[in-house]
């Protein structure tokens, strides 16, 4: 009923939902699953599952080193996935797409290989996921560089008022999230990239939450590096992506040493392959990359613009519904057009774990805790929060189930 009234929803939402087999299962004694934890990990469509099963059943072999039919098929599938990912983010060259274990590994790769020293500084933000904080803390401790960060405004945006003081001629890296996993804030990426560029600093975008829900065009952002993870874009776990400008990637020292990343090896020294293989030491996550290729093709087929509109419609609907729950405070921007599909909130008198537990007993899956963003929580004086996050398969009825569940939670804990 509501579904047809809400503008911006994906037109064939029921058909899309049918693509995700897990959405038809029940939990909590026969209740339909209401999965609102997609910012944590997304569910997988049948085509991704089938592609991976087919690869394992029919084409499995190691890549780039097996001189037989299966080796050729496996290599073709793996490298084909690289082409699909390159197309998904509009990368100028397929050589710029490096497969990593996840976004965290991609960020650590950069923090390990970008040249930093005493007197340099790295600028991050207070709304980063721990992976984009700790990796740079470690890099600064190792190198003697200084770590700086943008603070946040009370409404959950980046406080750019001191940007001119933060980013200066000693800045080597400006690393920031495109969409906050906790506050949902969409950051002004082109502005930040331009500020980094003005001082010759490298820009690094964490697109872990952006890639699932916004059209990502690396060329349009103007950035130097961008990372995201496979499992949040309806792909499998175990594979992530580092995109970097080809000349920059080839200027970086290797990260891990091993097979595949070399040109030649003698006992005394080695020379290294060019990107992307330079950064893909050892047998890569082959079937995972193949699955990721199918995943981004699936998303592209539906259209990232359409998915973004759907997320905005659901987010606006959810913000409206959450507003009706007494004692509930949303952390982050309240305008759906300026935010992503993750909404963190607090309810007076009930701890997020207890909220999650009661919702789980009603089949509603959300996340409770600090969402790997402790500094962002501390900024708003909270220790943890409850987070709902939607995706392309989320319906308004599921948002209704959440809101009803929150009402029930309040009554369960006798909050009137």
């Amino acid at each position: 009923m509501t579904t047809t009234q809400l503008a911006g929803l994906l037109p064939e939402l029921e058909v899309i939902r049918a693509d995700f087999p897990i959405l038809s299962r029940s939990v909590a004694d026969g209740r339909p699953l209401v999965y609102l934890d997609s910012a944590n990990t997304s569910q997988k469509p049948q085509v991704v599952i089938d592609t991976m099963v087919d690869h394992l059943e029919r084409h499995n072999a190691n890549v780039a080193r097996a001189m037989h039919a299966l080796g050729a098929e496996s290599t073709e599938a793996f490298e084909g996935a690289r082409d699909k990912v390159a197309a998904f983010i509009n990368a100028p060259s397929r050589n710029e797409v490096v497969f990593t274990k996840n976004a965290t590994e991609a960020l650590n790769l950069l923090a390990r290989t970008l040249d930093l020293g005493p007197g340099d500084n790295v600028v991050i933000t207070e709304m980063e996921h721990h992976s984009n904080i700790v990796s740079w803390q470690l890099a600064c401790e190792r190198s003697g560089a200084e770590l700086r960060w943008f603070g946040l405004t009370d409404d959950g945006r980046l406080d750019l008022s001191n940007a001119d003081a933060l980013i200066d001629e000693h800045t080597k890296v400006v690393a920031f999230t495109w969409v906050s996993n906790m506050l949902g804030t969409i950051n002004p990426v082109t502005d930040l990239v331009a500020r980094a560029k003005a001082f010759g600093a490298h820009s690094v975008i964490d697109a872990s939450q952006a890639a699932p829900q916004l059209p990502v065009d690396v060329a349009a952002t103007g950035c130097d590096f961008l990372v995201f993870t496979g499992h949040k874009v309806v792909g499998p776990t175990g594979v992530g992506v580092l995109w970097g400008r080809e000349e920059l990637l080839n200027g970086l020292p290797p990260f891990h040493g091993g097979g595949e990343m070399i040109e030649t090896v003698t006992m005394a020294r080695s020379t290294y392959a060019s990107a992307p293989h330079r950064f893909e030491a050892g047998t890569p996550p082959i079937v995972e990359a193949v699955g990721l290729g199918a995943a981004v093709d699936y998303l592209s087929h539906i259209g990232m613009d359409a998915i973004h509109r759907h997320e905005q419609a659901i987010t606006a609907y959810a913000l409206e519904g959450l507003r009706t729950v007494p004692g509930l405070t949303v952390l982050g921007p309240l305008d759906a057009t300026e935010r992503g599909g993750a909404i963190s909130f607090e309810i007076d008198g009930v701890h997020p774990h207890d909220v999650a537990q009661v919702l789980d007993s009603r089949g509603v899956a959300i996340r409770a805790g600090h969402h790997c963003a402790k500094p962002a929580h501390a900024r708003f004086g909270v220790q943890s929060s409850t987070r709902m996050s939607s995706y392309l398969y989320t319906t308004p009825a599921e948002v209704d189930a959440l809101v009803e569940g929150l009402e029930y939670t309040r009554s369960y804990f006798k909050l009137g």
Partner: protein, 150 residues
């Protein structure tokens, strides 16, 4: 559904959550520890005062869910005033209950209000919540004994 939830959130637990006993940090103490549950962010700062082989006081400051807060309150009720050895044995009994996956029958003689946590043992994700302050207490008590012996 609601039955399972009620097994977890016993009235006793909700009472301790709303009105925690012995909360707040007090002097004197021999050891203070800070324990966190890194996955969810629950934290407790806990002090132990041992006098003549008896747990003379346990004071704490904590943030977290109802289970972790109620568990700290119940802990202090059970161990304050007890000889250290007996308190350690209560700790052991509680640990066994919590790690029993719901199959251990709690002994009310020993555990008193803590029997309410028997339902928590069926929720693996919440066992850590219930054990946070208990582990902190054991750690602090061991340290206070080390200090008095050293």
């Amino acid at each position: 559904m609601s039955q399972q939830l009620d097994a977890l959130y016993q009235e006793i637990i909700l009472d301790h959550y709303k009105n925690p006993h012995h909360k707040g940090l007090r002097e004197p103490f021999e050891a203070e520890v800070h324990h966190v549950n890194p996955t969810c962010g629950d934290e407790v700062t806990l002090r132990v005062h041992v006098s003549d082989g008896t747990v003379a006081d346990v004071s704490y400051d904590s943030v977290g869910c109802s289970i972790s807060q109620a568990s700290a309150s119940v802990l202090t009720d059970l161990v304050i005033g007890k000889p250290v050895e007996e308190a350690m044995s209560i700790h052991e009994t509680f640990l066994t209950l919590m790690q029993g996956k719901g199959a251990v029958e709690p002994d009310e003689e020993v555990l008193e209000d803590a029997i309410a946590f028997a339902g928590v043992a069926k929720f693996p994700a919440r066992v850590k919540c219930a054990l946070l302050s208990w582990m902190a207490w054991k750690d602090a008590t061991a340290r206070s004994l080390e200090d008095s012996h050293g």
